[in-house]
Amino acid sequence: MKLSFDTADEQFRTEIAGWLANNLSGEFETIRFRGGPGDEHMFGEERKRWEQQMAQGGWTCVGWPEEYGGRGLSIEQQVIFHEEYARAGGPGRVGHIGEGLAGPTIIEFGTAEQKQKYLPGIRNGTELWCQGYSEPSAGSDLANVKTKAEYDQGRQAWCISGQKVWTSLAHESDWCFVIARTDPQSQRHHGLGFFLVNMHQPGVEVRPITQLTGTSEFNEVFFDQALAEDILGEPGEGWKIGMALLGFERGVSTLGQQMAFQNELDEIIALARRNGAAQEPDIRQRISEAHIGLRLMRYNAMRMLSGPADGSLDSAALVYKLHWASWHRSLGKLAMDVLGSEGELLMEPPYELSRLQSLFLFTRSDTIYGGTNQVQRNIIAERGLGMPKEPRG
């Protein structure tokens, strides 16, 4: 077992830290530490320009193979990249769905033409993506997809009709990957297709959903005979591809996420020292517990990323979402308890929240999206511990 990074990796750390220090300045100074969870609605245009600045420096898609415009970085260097990005206060990435989800899926399952067509826009930060999975009746039960895909002989293309929901950044996106039912007789995870849909067309309507924070980061998306530009794989392979994509989601960016968590915890600690909460035994215990939880999240992630020789690494990966989501939600509550009575007072009417207030409210979503805590526990019990599967209708 070895925890430290080697010299070449530390040199890489210096390189990316230097680039960020030089570039997160001037017009981008204002978006440092902005656009993260609870703040995604802010600085949309500036963050799109920042995405292109990153691309020019060659710092988008760093984990992709070089032939597709990436840097082909090792796991260690990707970890370092995400850590340094978060440490420098790099803004929430508007391109992360394309870079982290759509791109790797296209690289894995796309044809040469599809790769040629879609990857450069993601790589260059010029085309943004959103994810069309959840539907009103397909939440935790993701296989209950009702959105239809019909092959239109006249248009020589698949056409999509139906509704998606909780679609993050749909209002900013150029493309959406959509799971839709290609076989109307099929049920559950059979008969699905994985489609790439241009958002800029008459058959696509985006309606923002106002969240409990008063802001809108996710949307309802309505498709009415919308043209699918492409299908990835074959009709019927949608579930396989869609699940493979979710596998790309849990990876190296988790350590960057933890650096953002650290920034939040640091703010709470500074506040507690300022307002005297640091003297309350209960607050001391909880801040300490939060600190321990975050540090151990890091070592859990490092075990997860170090590969499978250990035998129990799969289970380290299985518990990861439940761990960070529960931890983060507790941190949100801790923030309010450290704020005390001040926590009720808004920054500005009608509903401008401070960063910690926003943390409190927004972290309630962490234990819901991307698989609720209850779904996560089922997965851990079934796949990790071999307990019986839930009955599925």
């Binding site: 077992m1 070895k2 300490s288 151990l296 170090s306 089922n378 019990a381 511990l385 307990m387």
Partner: protein, 393 residues
């Protein structure tokens, strides 16, 4: 970065599990725990003569194998899984570590080979009260140079009634700020040892009463810092080993309880098929995985610490925090696991016949030993927030 077991470490783990499966089954544990000695001498001999665990991390020049703290923790974890009854923690994690930290060359050469031969040893330092650091020492020494005289009462001495060798912490009766460690034979005149019956019968405790115990000057370990910091470091190293044992117990009771729920049927199905049961198991599994990360992070830190100037100084400096995190997290994880496992067992979990209560009692006793979760969280809180009650740093 390569935070996983090496092939050799996997082999050590598998060999340890196999050995203990054969030698420390439930019947063996129950026989051992019912005796005042607390272990089967034949088992201890086998552990020493066949497995060499007692000298795993002792350098080769003193008759050891020269392996690292990670390997020691692998063995502790395996023993925790089986509740193996042996004077291992006391001999290795307390006494041998004390010699490694505080003995000079001559003292190590004098005592470590005796441990290598299979003699048992322990540490006596606690004078009562709730603290679990050097401030808990109340025994006193007088004298200097050629002879010392020790006096005082010691409690919570693990295996103190049976150990061949004793490591004794004491304060200078003339200057309470001067703390020293003495290594002596347990049959030295003036030592009274009293076995204490304990709720957790799988780990034995004794109280010691020292009355004008006279030892030669070279019994005083030369490298022990007078300010208590060496003892605190020794306790940190012991915490990591104990956390490894707790981590093993957490995993074992989870697996045993899950296996039981896979067999037990109610309402025409195994109770493992109910989400109420699955979610309990999943919550334990989460803590078990995080505990594993905590232990082996801390073990890596301990390795670097014991490597001294040859190691990674930055990592070594994390020893107090790593130990506090591991002990805090694993203490609570184990008790959570054992308590919830008992609930999963239902009525039979409350019987003497099933092993659930053995784990439950061990979880509580090892939580308290060397400081519980709250104690170690307060240590960390002091680092993050300053001392409690407006004290000076």
């Amino acid at each position: 970065m390569d935070f996983k077991f090496t092939e050799e470490q996997v082999m050590i783990r598998d060999a340890a599990d196999a050995f203990l499966l054969a030698e420390a089954d439930s019947a063996a544990v129950r026989t051992a725990m019912a005796s005042e000695l607390g272990y089967d001498p034949a088992f201890w001999r086998a552990l020493c003569d066949q497995m060499y665990w007692h000298v795993a991390h002792i350098p080769e020049q003193y008759g050891g194998l020269g392996l690292g703290y990670v390997e020691l923790c692998i063995v502790m974890q395996a023993m925790g899984k089986r509740l193996a009854c042996a004077p291992f923690f006391s001999t290795v994690a307390l006494a041998a570590n004390g010699l490694l930290l505080a003995g000079n060359e001559a003292q190590r050469e004098q005592w470590l080979p005796r441990i290598a031969e299979g003699q048992t040893a322990t540490l006596a330092f606690h004078g009562g009260g709730r603290a679990w650091d050097a401030t808990a020492v109340s025994g006193e020494f007088t004298g200097s140079g050629d002879t010392y005289t020790l006096n005082g009462d010691y409690c919570y001495v693990v295996d103190g009634h049976s150990a061949d060798l004793l490591l004794i912490a004491a304060r200078n009766s003339q200057d309470q700020h001067e703390l020293a460690l003495f290594m002596l034979d347990a049959d030295t005149a003036g030592i009274e040892r009293q076995w204490q019956a304990t709720m957790d019968q799988t780990r034995k405790q004794a109280s010691l009463s020292l009355s004008n115990v006279t030892v030669a000057g070279n019994a005083r370990l030369a490298g022990c810092q007078a300010d208590g910091s060496t003892l605190d470091t020794l306790l940190d190293l012991a915490c990591i080993a104990l956390a490894a044992e707790q981590c093993g117990g957490t995993d074992a009771i989870l697996r045993q309880a899950v296996a039981y729920t896979q067999e037990r049927e109610q309402f025409g199905r195994t109770i493992a098929s109910f989400q109420a049961i699955k979610h309990k198991a999943a919550d334990i599994a989460l803590k078990s995985e995080v505990a594993m990360s905590a232990v082996f992070y801390a073990a890596c830190v301990a390795d670097e610490y014991l490597a001294g100037s040859a190691g990674d100084g930055e990592l070594a400096a994390q020893l107090p925090e790593a130990a506090a995190m591991a002990k805090a997290y694993c203490s609570d994880a184990y008790f959570f696991a054992a308590g919830n496992a008992m609930q999963m067992y239902g009525g039979v979990g409350f019987t003497w016949e099933y092993d659930a209560h053995l784990y439950f009692k061990r979880a509580k006793s090892s939580e308290v030993l060397l400081g519980n979760g709250a104690w170690h969280r307060e240590r960390i809180a002091t680092g993050l927030l300053g001392p409690a009650n407006g004290g000076e740093t």
